[in-house]
Amino acid sequence: MKVWGLHLAVLAALALLGLVLPQYHATNLARIMVLAVFAMGYNLAFGYAGLLSLGHALFFAAGMYGAGLPAWHWGWGAAPALLAGAMAGGLAAVIVGLLALRTAGVSFMIVTLMFAKAFALTILYFNSWTGGDEGFVVPDTGRALFGATLAADGPRYALAWGLFTVALGLSLLLVRSRFGRVMVALRENEERARMLGINPYAAKLQVMGISGLYSGAAGAAYALLFGYVGGTFADIQYSILPMLYVLLGGAGTVLGAGLGAALMFYLTDVASSVTDAWLFVVGAALVVLVLFAPKGILGWVRARWWRDLP
């Protein structure tokens, strides 16, 4: 009950913030919530199941293009585009997983990285259809959702909050379910899990699919909320970013992904206002974190104060 109370309080606070914050910070928060959904998906794979992927940019971009291309080429509205984007992310993750999960550890990282790189190059290669590195602006029709436009502040925030709420709720249910314990078992000792009758390959493939679904939904929402789809979102940095969010907030904690995304966003925003060397500041902060709080902020909280924090 205490756990659900905490998470509901976070959602209520986010809803309230959307009403009271100045426009700039409300938009930032909408962006953070979408990125947090991406990080939650990554967290399920990495934080809970121990799958250290360097290919999640592929799933995010698959969602972005899965939503953006039908909106651009065929005039789809936001609802079917969002659904198509989420499905594209999930499907891409399952296809990659079918092959990549035959490996583990460093090999898994490299294989997922290569798939993501191949996808990024594919986007550039089919420039005339994808917009390539320059990308394209999502048309207004693609940003229309039930009579509202996602280009407006209110609907943008509402959709971001709605997506975040669904993602957080499902994440919480998942990690507290039997399958959640299977994920942790795979992370902690795959051989022992196998001896308990779990099929590691099938279970990890499911995790990849769910993680891809989250990433795809986030990519689709990002495209529709901010009106742009481009090849840079398939670059390696978008595989690294969710990892950093999760490491910062706390791997294997449901709220850690969102907390990490928020902290990283504002660390960048504030540091870039203070110094030209903002990338150095962000890097130094991450080094300090890894050295002194290797389990992330909520991992540290869980270790000291709240052992049952999911």
Partner: protein, 425 residues
């Protein structure tokens, strides 16, 4: 004159500001701007792939603001530039637009070069209803892909550049052209526009060789160049340029080779006398604005060159190894003067007048050469939000870029593909 990074100026900026202030105070007979500053946000490629451009864009815009303020500002108000790094990234670019339009309270935003950052940022500028003036060369503005709030008033687009130079290439270098280009959007623009332009000149593109963006060696592509090629049109960019040219030289050796024609984008911020580039001797390049001071340079060119701190060879006056991005950076200077013209014509007083300001911009047509436009006269098309101007073709002679041809303004004109004035705000 004030130039700040948002919220907290760095020590270097404070010193720059003091220096500019002292220089301004030393000028006799100037009217000092008074009143609340006109805040111009500058989306700057300070880091990332565009950093070499960003460094010079910042210097050029700062010099323009200093000159404008020394002459009384804009509508009597001093110009304040607020630079914010976008990391040459479209995601960060959109966030920077929000920051400049929001907490930084800028009246308008300018300065973006890289096309993908423009594409990623323009939707947010449109939603925030802030004028967004880019210095990008991309055809994306005139194509109609963006919105009423996005304009490109001080640099021509790649379609216009190619269209205006294709006749000279066909008439002077050869009719059978092979294109070598990076296999992504920038290269595809060159491929498509040049290929379309050549038949009208009695020429043809006989081969198109796209180089994948991850390629580090080009040797295996050169055998694909047809033997009958008369002109090799190349637009490679980035660090690979040196390798590309060196390997091209090794491929042809001392034997006969086709004429070479390229865009100076390949060599912006790179010294043409760099060892390894000897093979480019005698080849031709497009230049938006001639890097090296030409014999016929007028007063406006001389004054501009001094104001932005560039010597006659195109390098920084304080560091001969620091080569400017001269072919593009004039657009920052001229954009700021375009803003001045529009603000003064519209009677703009604050953000509530932004629509009026955009309408005043759209009403501007003639942009004559002079101190405000050292690159040359331009015409602004209010319907397509795009400027049209002259282009330069230079030849490398003795390691120096010497202009051999200048196109007319009309050479680069094309029919409107859109009418932004018909769009709502």
């Amino acid at each position: 004159m004030t130039t700040t990074s948002l919220f907290a100026p760095s020590r270097r900026r404070v010193l720059q500001g003091m220096g500019a202030g002292l220089a301004t105070a030393a000028l006799p007979g100037h009217v000092f701007a008074q009143g609340a500053p006109l805040k111009v946000g500058f989306q700057l490629h300070r880091t990332g792939i565009g950093a070499a451009y960003g460094r010079w864009y910042e210097r050029t815009a700062t010099a323009a603001a200093t000159a404008i303020n020394a002459a009384g500002g804009i509508a009597g108000r001093p110009v304040e530039l607020l630079f914010e790094d976008d990391a040459t990234d479209p995601k960060r670019g959109a966030e920077v637009v929000e920051k400049l339009a929001g907490p930084a309270a800028c009246d308008l935003i300018m300065g973006t070069l890289f096309s993908h950052v423009v594409m990623g940022s323009a939707p947010r500028a449109g939603e925030l209803k802030v004028p967004y003036l880019v210095c990008s060369e991309g055809y994306h503005v005139a194509s109609g892909a963006l919105n009423r709030w996005t304009l490109q008033p001080a640099i021509t687009d790649v379609r216009s550049q190619i269209q205006s130079m294709a006749p000279w290439v066909a008439a002077n270098l050869g009719k059978k052209v092979t294109l070598i280009y990076p296999d992504y959007a920038f290269g595809h623009d060159h491929r498509d526009f040049f290929t379309a332009a050549m038949p009208g000149q009695g020429g043809e593109v006989i081969a198109q060789i796209g180089i994948p963006p991850t390629e580090t060696s080009f040797t295996r592509y050169f055998p694909q160049i047809p033997a009958e090629t008369e002109v090799l049109y190349h637009v490679m960019v980035g660090p690979a340029v040196l390798t590309f040219v060196k390997e091209l030289g090794e491929f042809y050796g001392t034997g006969a080779r086709p004429q070479l024609f390229g865009f100076l984008d390949s060599l912006e911020a790179v010294d043409t006398a760099t060892p390894g580039l000897e093979f480019l001797e005698g080849s031709h390049f497009w230049e938006g604005h001639c890097r090296m001071k030409q014999a016929d340079a007028g007063e406006a060119e001389t004054a501009y060159r001094a104001a932005v701190g560039v010597d006659d060879m195109g390098a920084s006056v304080s560091d001969p190894a620091d080569i400017s991005t001269y072919s593009h950076m004039f657009s920052c200077w001229e954009t700021l003067y375009f803003i001045k013209q529009a603000v003064e014509a519209s009677g703009y007083a604050g953000v509530a007048d932004r629509e009026k300001l955009v309408e005043a911009m759209e009403a501007i047509s003639d942009l004559p050469a002079g101190p405000e436009r050292p690159q040359g006269g331009m015409v602004f098309n209010g319907k397509t939000h795009q400027a049209f101007g002259t282009q330069n073709i230079s030849q490398i002679q003795g390691g120096k870029l010497l202009r051999v041809h200048q196109t007319s303004l009309e050479d680069g004109m094309y029919a409107n593909d859109t009418d932004y004035t018909a769009m709502s705000f």
